[in-house]
C-alpha cells in the first residue's frame, strides 16, 4: 500500500505537473512555443542571482500569508481576511518605522511585532464575533478586508504621505534590507525577511504540533464539541487562532513595508497576497513546511511570469492559469489518489 505520507507528497507534485501540462497545451493552442515560454519562466525566476533573489523576495510574504491561512484552517477557521490583515500590518510596521528612531536591534523587531499586533487586532474582530455571536468568519473577514483597504489608504493620505501615493520612508534602523544581500543577489530587493518567514514557519509548526495550545487548537478545529467536553474553551481557542493567524498576515505586511518597499503606498485594490495565501496554504497541505515550499513555487511563478511577455511573447496571465490549475488538482487530490491506486492495482 501507498503510505499517506507518500501520497501527501505525490499529490502536489502530480498537480504541479498537470498544471504545467495544461499551460503548455494552452500555449500550443494559441500558437506559442511552450518551450520558449517555460524557458523564459525558468530564467526569469532562477536564471541568475538577481532573479533568484527576486523569487525569494516574492516568496516571503506569500509564505507568511500561507502560514496565516493554514494556521486558521487547522483550527477549523477560514481566514479570507489575510488580505486586510496584510494591509494593517504593513501600515503599522511602516508607521512605527517612520515615527520612531531606535537602535536597529530594538527598532526592527518592534516594528515587526507592531505589525503582528495590528494584524492580530484586525483578525480579532471576526474571531470575537465568531466565538461570541456565531457570526460566520468568512463574511466578516471579507468586510474587514475592504475596511482595511479604505482605512489604510485614508491614513496614508491623511498622515503619512510624502509624495505621490507613498508614505515617508522608514528609518534605516527598521529596514530589513541589507547591502550584503542586495549585492549577493546582484541588486535584487531581497531582504532578511526570509529569515522571518522561516522563523514564522517554525513557530507555527512548534505551536501546532508541539504545544498544548496547538493540541487545543487542532482539537477545536476537528471537533469543537469534543473540545468543549474535554474542558477546553472553544471561544478562547477560536479567538486565539484568529489572533495568531492575523499576526502572521500582519507580519507578511511588515515584510512588504520594512523589506521590499521601505514604505507603503495607497492601493487601488487588494494586494492579492492574502488570496494567494489560500493557494499557498492548500498546496502546502496546511502545514508549515508545506506552506514555505509552496510559497517558493508561487514566488518563482510570479516573478518568472514577468519575463514571459518580453522574452517569449506569452501573456503573463498564462501563469495565473497554471497556478489555478495546480490548485484545482491539489484540491481534487482524490482523483489523483484514485488514479494511483488504480495504477497500482493493475500492476499487481
Amino acid at each position: 500500500m501507498f503510505s499517506n505520507r507518500k501520497f501527501n507528497l505525490l499529490v502536489p507534485l502530480f498537480s504541479i505537473l498537470l498544471g504545467f501540462l495544461v499551460g503548455a497545451i494552452i500555449m500550443v493552442v494559441f500558437g506559442y512555443s511552450p518551450i520558449d515560454g517555460y524557458t523564459a519562466l525558468w530564467n526569469g525566476a532562477f536564471g541568475n542571482a538577481y532573479y533568484t533573489g527576486e523569487t525569494l523576495r516574492q516568496s516571503i510574504p506569500l509564505a507568511l500569508t500561507g502560514l496565516s491561512i493554514a494556521f486558521a484552517f487547522r483550527s477549523g477557521l477560514f481566514n479570507i481576511g489575510a488580505e486586510g490583515q496584510v494591509f494593517v500590518g504593513w501600515l503599522a510596521a511602516v508607521w512605527f518605522g517612520i515615527t520612531f528612531d531606535l537602535p536597529a536591534v530594538i527598532h526592527l523587531p518592534l516594528s515587526i511585532l507592531v505589525a503582528a499586533l495590528a494584524g492580530a487586532l484586525w483578525a480579532f474582530v471576526p474571531g470575537l464575533l465568531k466565538a461570541t455571536r456565531g457570526v460566520h468568519e468568512v463574511v466578516v473577514t471579507i468586510m474587514m478586508n475592504y475596511i482595511a483597504l479604505h482605512v489604510s489608504n485614508h491614513i496614508i493620505r491623511a498622515y503619512l504621505l510624502e509624495s505621490g501615493s507613498r508614505t515617508y520612508r522608514i528609518n534605516e534602523s527598521a529596514s530589513l534590507r541589507s547591502e550584503f544581500l542586495t549585492d549577493f543577489f546582484s541588486g535584487s530587493q531581497i531582504h532578511w525577511g526570509f529569515i522571518v518567514a522561516i522563523i514564522g514557519a517554525f513557530i507555527m509548526w512548534f505551536i501546532l504540533e508541539k504545544t498544548t495550545y496547538g493540541y487545543e487548537l487542532r482539537a477545536v478545529g476537528f471537533n469543537p464539541h469534543a473540545a468543549r467536553y474535554a474542558g477546553m474553551s472553544v471561544k478562547k481557542n477560536i479567538i486565539m487562532a484568529m489572533l495568531i493567524a492575523g499576526g502572521f498576515a500582519g507580519i507578511a505586511g511588515a515584510m512588504e513595508g520594512l523589506g521590499t518597499f521601505g514604505a507603503m503606498h495607497t492601493h487601488a485594490g487588494f494586494s492579492n497576497l492574502g488570496f494567494d495565501g489560500i493557494a499557498v496554504a492548500l498546496l502546502g497541505a496546511n502545514t508549515a513546511i508545506g506552506s514555505v515550499l509552496a510559497a517558493l513555487l508561487f514566488g518563482a511563478l510570479k516573478v518568472g511570469s514577468l519575463s514571459m511577455p518580453p522574452v517569449a511573447g506569452v501573456p503573463s496571465e498564462l501563469v495565473e492559469i497554471v497556478i489555478a490549475i495546480i490548485i484545482f488538482f491539489v484540491a481534487s487530490s482524490y482523483i489523483i489518489r484514485w488514479a494511483v491506486l488504480r495504477f497500482k492495482k493493475e500492476e499487481k
Partner: protein, 352 residues
Amino acid sequence: ACGTEDEEPAEETDDETTEETTDETEEEAPDFSVAMVTDEGGVDDRSFNQSAWEGIQAFGEEHGLERGEGYDYAQSDDAADYMPNLNGLIQQEYDLIFGIGFELMDSVEQVAESNPDTNFALVDDVIEADNVASVTFAEEQGSFLAGVAAALKTESDEVGFVGGITSPLIKRFEVGFVAGVKSVNPDIDVRVEYAETFSDEQMGRSFANSMYSDGIDVIYHASGAVGNGIFTEARNRIENNPDDPVWVIGVDRDQYDEGQQGDHNVALTSMVKRVDVAVQEVSEMAMSGEFPGGEHLILGLEDDAISIADTNDEAYTDEIHEEVSDWEEQILNGDIVVPETDEELEDFIDSL
C-alpha cells in the same frame, strides 16, 4: 535619405515610409535602445501607459529598431513588480529606460543610483539624479482650457469635476479646471468630488448620476477608469432623452470614442496629455547624445504635449474653439499663469 528616388510615387512618401522601406534593406539600425516600465495600469490602459508605449513604438519604428531588442516594455501588475521589471530591462542593457507614472518614482530612484551608467526617465514626477530625466506636464494648462470650454458650454452655470485619488498631481487638474471656469464666469459653480480610486466605474457612475441630476451639465474627470462610469451615465441619459444637455470632458487622451451614443457624442472635448510626444522627445535627445540627465522638463501647451481635443465639432463649436484658442494664446504668451495649488487658486480667483 538614400538613393531610392526612382521608386514609385515619390511625392507621397513622407519621411516615415521612406525610412521604413529603406531600413529593411540596408540602413543599419542605430546603436540605441529604449524601454519602459508601466505602472499598475498596464500597457493597454487606454490612457497614459498606452500613450507612452505608442510613443516608444513610434520612435522605434522611425529608427528601424526591433521590438525586443531596440525597444520594449515591461508590464507591472503590482507595485512589487516595478523593481524586477526595471532590473530586468537594465540586465538586457537598454540605454534609456522610462518609468511611466509617479508610482515608479522610488524604484527608478533606487535603480538609477545603483546603475549610474544607464539613463532613466521618469514621467509625472521628479527625481534629482544625474542619470535621470524627469518629465512632467503642465496639466493645469490643459485643465484650464477644459474649464474654459466647460464654462462656455454650461447652460445651468453648474459644472463638475471628478478626481481619482487625491494627490498633488490630480490637484493640478482640479485647480486648473476651476481657474479656467472662473476666468470665463466667476459665478459658475464647480462641484468637486474625489472617488479615491482610479478603478471603480460604479463610483464614477454614481457621481455622474448625482451631478447630472442636480443640474450640473458638464463634468470634467481626471480619474482613470472611474471616468468610464461617467461616460456611461452621460450616454444613458442621451439614450433616454437625446436633448438632455449632458457633457463629459475626457482626460489624458482623446476620449471621443467613449462618448459616442447613437449619432450623438457626449465627449465635449478631452484634455490630451501627449505622453507619447514626451517619450519620443526624450528618446530623440538621448539618442543624439543630449540626454537631459538631472533636468526637469515640464511640457505644456507650447511643447504640443498638452492640448485640447476638437474632435467633437458638433458640440465643441467654432465659437468655443475660438475662445479657447484666445485663452491658450494668453497662457502661451505668459499673460496668464495658471495656478497649480489651492493657495495659488485662491489668489488667482481674487485677482479676477
